[in-house]
Subunit: 233 residues, 2 copies
């Protein structure tokens, strides 16, 4: 099969990317079903028929949007994680260091990568919490990197039961993807004191917050749930 010509100034490749950009933006705002092929084409200043030409259909365009940045992102993240481990002393990086290595590339791309990355993460935030796409899509693109990260955490918390690590990651994941969504909820709630666009604020706090949570759950005895369950609740 012929290799695709990805030179961005090739006429077709440019159009293809423009469609991806438009789709990324609109899917992030209103989800898969909230956007029409026509709206995407209008946003991209292209013809609706080109969606079929380049991607096959709407669903395939959606997949292409997700795939485009996932590869680059996972590459950045694995490098960041390895650097973190390399720079740590012989006892390895701390929980907080590992979490920062996990979240920082995402928050950094969202903040400094331009509007495309911002939309991409907002889309990830929606998909993660969707019963329809949540498990399949996220596992497909991100399970390998997450498991790599879990390995590192296992070394930093050698006494932590496995389940506690997975539940801790679950909580981390929820906190992180709500941040991506940048809905403005925290702005309204705090009457402007906190702004959901202020990713630097999250970057400063999330590793500390989540690190403390990991440590707390890691301190649980493995069989704590076999002890007499108290009446309360």
């Amino acid at each position: 099969m012929a290799t695709a010509d990805l030179r961005p100034n090739r006429r077709g490749e440019r159009t293809r990317q423009t469609l991806l950009d438009a789709a990324e933006k609109l899917f992030a705002e209103k989800g898969f079903y909230g956007v029409t092929v026509r709206a995407i084409a209008r946003e991209a200043d292209a013809d609706p028929a080109l969606v079929a030409y380049y991607f096959g259909g709407k669903r395939e365009l959606f997949d292409a949007v997700l795939l485009r940045r996932a590869e680059r992102l996972n590459q950045i993240r694995i490098e960041r994680l390895e650097a973190c481990e390399r720079e740590a002393g012989p006892e390895g990086p701390s929980v907080e260091d590992i979490i920062a290595a996990f979240t920082e590339p995402l928050l950094d791309r969202s903040e400094n990568g331009g509007p495309g990355w911002k939309s991409y993460f907002a889309l990830i935030g929606q998909i993660t919490n969707s019963p329809e796409w949540g498990a399949a899509v996220m596992s497909k693109y991100f399970d390998p990197i997450v498991l790599r990260f879990m390995e590192s955490l296992r070394r930093a918390l050698p006494d932590a039961p496995e389940e506690e690590l997975f539940w801790s990651y679950h909580f981390l994941s929820g906190a992180l993807v709500l941040t991506f969504a940048e809905t403005g909820r925290v702005d309204a709630l705090s009457k402007g004191l906190c702004r959901s666009t202020d990713l630097a604020a999250v970057h400063k706090r999330l590793p500390l917050f989540v690190g403390a949570g990991f440590r707390r759950l890691a301190a649980e005895r493995p069989n704590a749930d076999t002890q007499d369950p108290e009446a309360a609740e």
Copy 2:
């Protein structure tokens, strides 16, 4: 204006509730745009025209779905929070107690309230992370109860800077609503060791995890960000 007759066996009220149930289930699965009025009517075994008759239109039906349980839920939550404060010693409830009082009614309704409640929370999970509805809808229904909860936390952590409390709540909120979504992601990631339907597991861990996070951020000096920002990151 005439008061609505809400006796559930009145012919019309029964139909209305059936439509709400069907809409709740389908909206939770595929979001607002992923569901058609016809699909809802089919699920409810009712006529599509009745959506307009009872609610005015699709959007109003969506709002009615959200409103229906929000009122009862907030009532349960305020009672639970007040009980928690009443039962605490003179120094007031701990952070963990307050967080348990905040999350327990939700996890309890999702687990023991039947499929309607389960769908409701899954829908909340999606809406929370949606740029389109996230701020407006959630603030409308839940800001008062959250602010009441924040008040209690402020007493438990008197030295905590306000921003730290709001960001901590943001992280809690993210962890909680991802739990509601029950996407099965943690099941795949942990190869079955953890199940996203196991809300008891979350109920046991979330207050500890989040409590530790609150305490960690509360310990930050208010002006920690005015100190020399290190080169790294």
